[in-house]
Symmetry: D2
């Protein structure tokens, strides 16, 4: 099966104090050096006076070599405008690890997109605290590492996970209904690079058994939320959310069932935006460019 073709473009994601002329300055920098802008989206937070932008340009006829671009940009603009920024190149395919426990629906959804070539990403490894889904790794011919982490052995087990992640050159991690809480140390190693799916419309029903909580409260919609993991439980920057309608007829088991479709779609939408380098985090929020 074919893979999405990586064209050779540069992606700048940045934010800085808002000021007149900033768009003109940056777009002029790109075009006057021979870059052809293929995407530009920007947004000004007027309340806080912050300017956010994502620009992507074709490098074919761009005059500045890749390896010098960051340096040039820092010297010429970033310092002057007090920018926080990130420049990446789409020719470099990112590497994503998937963490799972026993439920397979999110994992299958991720892998079926991957195998069909929908995403410009590599999935070199799946990690699980249980052996149950090893068969899925075998189906898709992806190494499946069982690391039986629990409360008591977390530090030691996470150490093994770090080694695995490093050995596979993993850039970011997707928790596809992974039922373990990561340590602060783990989270701090991958800032804004761990994507979780929580099976509720956050901030409603934080923590364990959100479908049971939803059932008890008698809500008429259930939700799912994909967010970057931070050290506070279920409180990281939200990337994507969606809901589906339920009725009084639905039991907890029905909520679990209806929720599965939500979870996998919401998680995959978030992962896709991350792969496309379309997310910019600021404080505890995300800017998700179109």
């Amino acid at each position: 099966m074919e893979r999405a073709h990586s064209t050779d473009t540069a992606v700048l994601r940045m934010h800085c104090p808002d000021q007149p002329g900033i768009i003109a300055v940056i777009t002029d920098f790109i075009t006057s050096n021979g870059g052809n802008i293929v995407y530009l989206d920007q947004y000004v937070d007027r309340a806080d006076g912050v300017f956010y932008m994502r620009v992507e340009w074709d490098l074919k006829t761009f005059g500045i070599p890749k390896e010098k671009l960051c340096d040039y940009f820092a010297t010429l603009y970033a310092r002057r405008y007090d920018m926080t920024y990130n420049i990446s190149f789409t020719s470099r395919r990112q590497r994503m690890a998937v963490f799972v426990s026993k439920m397979s629906h999110c994992l299958y959804d991720l892998l079926s997109r991957y195998i069909a070539g929908e995403w410009d990403v590599e999935i070199p490894v799946i990690i699980s605290n249980h052996p149950d889904l090893a068969i899925v790794g075998k189906q898709f011919d992806i190494p499946f590492e069982v690391i039986p982490v629990n409360r008591d052995n977390k530090a030691e087990m996470e150490q093994r996970e770090f080694e695995i992640l490093d050995s596979y050159g993993v850039d970011f991690i997707v928790l596809a209904r992974y039922m373990q809480v990561l340590s602060e140390d783990f989270i701090n190693r991958y800032p804004n690079n761990i994507i979780n799916i929580h099976h509720s419309f956050l901030p409603a029903f934080i923590g364990a058994k959100p479908y049971h909580q939803a059932f008890e409260r008698g809500v008429k919609l259930i939700g799912a939320t994909s967010h970057y993991v931070t050290t506070e439980l279920d409180a990281g920057p939200i990337i994507e959310q969606d809901v589906t309608r339920i009725t009084h007829k639905d039991t907890v088991a029905d909520l679990v069932k209806k929720g599965r479709d939500l979870e996998k779609i919401v998680l995959s939408r978030a992962v896709e935006k991350h792969i496309q380098r379309k997310i910019l985090t600021f404080g505890n929020k995300t800017v998700v460019f179109s």
Copy 2:
């Protein structure tokens, strides 16, 4: 403008411990006495073993007189099957009071449906703690009573409200963005007969300024919830909820704006179900029949 025509039907809403044959018993009671069932919906909560049903039948050829129906039903079935039940007649148009403060969008939505004859209901009075929307009462020729309730005079002012509500023969109350908390005494006078609209997806963002809370948390959807008012704030049985998508570009003012459409639609859906006698409450939940 025309009003929805009231046919003469009886509506039975009931719940009881589940047992075999209960549907057959009740439908047989109705049809063997000449009633033509025009609606039946039922639901069994298997976890708790409770049977819920709503039946509506035409009284034209029904042999038991209205004034004796409750008595017969109680004697023949209700006691035997340990039912909690309510029988009402659609020929009696219910009377609904609307409470408002300063925002007009929900009020206009309710009144424009009322004036167009969409609902089989009377709205004899609007009550407000502010005079701002008196002009709307005038537009629709509905008495508008200003009762400037606040924390200090609540008991006294509510007394005046009770007198007004009694004088207009009000059956149930709709809080159409009414910005005052009702006393326990008030709430207990109208059990399951006070409908509120809260501008969040409950139980997220309980209490004041939910749009500000939603903005701070960086959610990607905002919601509205219509529920019966109980003595615990924003915690009563939920009747209806819905959400709408927002993005990082939306300011708090944008959320307020987008939320208005949600609020009015969600509130009106809940009010319509109440008018149609399609809601059954149990514990802190609702069964909303189709």
Copy 3:
């Protein structure tokens, strides 16, 4: 992985001319013979005077043997009330064939639910007019038959398909983005037992390349429709539909991408309802019980 447990229940789906007392008669038949009703939903089409019902009851303590039930029901009720009906037993797991061409997203979605035991169904065979997805059959260990049907050899190839379907005892067929039109002969062999997914909000954009048509028309939402296949193209009884929002920024390729999630979810919802025996067709419409 576990499979959903099949309890031993009978499912009656029926419709007949509406008349008073019909619910009482049928529910009494079941309960007086020792059957415990676990589900009942009914609906009266008042315009046409038709009564529709689905009842499901536990057979554990039911006095009439399975093999005699249809006969008894026909004699005692069906003729008398002029019913069209179907009685089936959930202890018998239905057998479903999947037809595919080159796109894998719907197939993966079906198989991942199947393998996780979400559905009480067997998938004994996948049939395709292309060899591309044979690898998926291998992944899930399901026979994958390549039948290279085209316009010229359709009669002959369909004959081979019938043999395969018969040899696997297939009850119903799911066209999971199968890009061939079936012959009338084929369709008539499986009335209301062939489920298709069409990638538009039918009846908009019938026929080929619906996403191109949607793009040309400049719609703001795209849809997907799952329906039973009849001899008129894309005109069979609709089971399920859904839509997703698009903008002017979306190219045809974006529509194809956004459409994939719609297609797989809408198809799976329809298949699930079919497996649960919750669909009743009448004329060119479906009653989909809750």
Copy 4:
């Protein structure tokens, strides 16, 4: 009630053949002349090679006088880049006429937003082919002109409508469930300035009685579409669409009822975008900026 405050900004909407540097050129023109950009959104249609942009900037410190701006822009940029463009000033409140027939739900929704000051617009006149809703004009103190147009007197009656529209200085027209087809002459007078609401998900169910058509087809969702009126019936550029779920239980009357909420919300969303000058039409499509 307060009206939204009109700040003094200029809005440029334009499209032209795509070329490198176009954003830099225009944003530099604005900022180097003292304009503070408060909004910028752009979009490149790569298939057709067209660049679309909407820029809005504060005029407070802008050096070029309003009355000369169009001239300058045409000379300096528009000709050079082959732009199709429009410059408008938000200090000028647009004037909107509403056309209605007998149904009030869209009219009330528009007027309740207007009276609450949600929109920066004037509604100087309502025109109807029936007197039924004259009372609504009276409620909101807006002139209500009855022009009993029909097939035979259309030319003459439209002449009277033109006079009324001119006398009130009307900029654009909203057909709020107006049940008459406008003449080509009428439509050509207000290109991209007549907004209609059609009660179906176009292009499904064009023409009369779309809810009846939807009922006959057995769809599971009904829709509403707001579009600019062109001379081909229900085929103009679509501005906004939405859908709502229905079931087999819904009669045509139920569809009409559920459709009303869709119609009013979809129409009002489209009108708001038009008032905000956020729509750009090209061919038979719209670009609707965020």
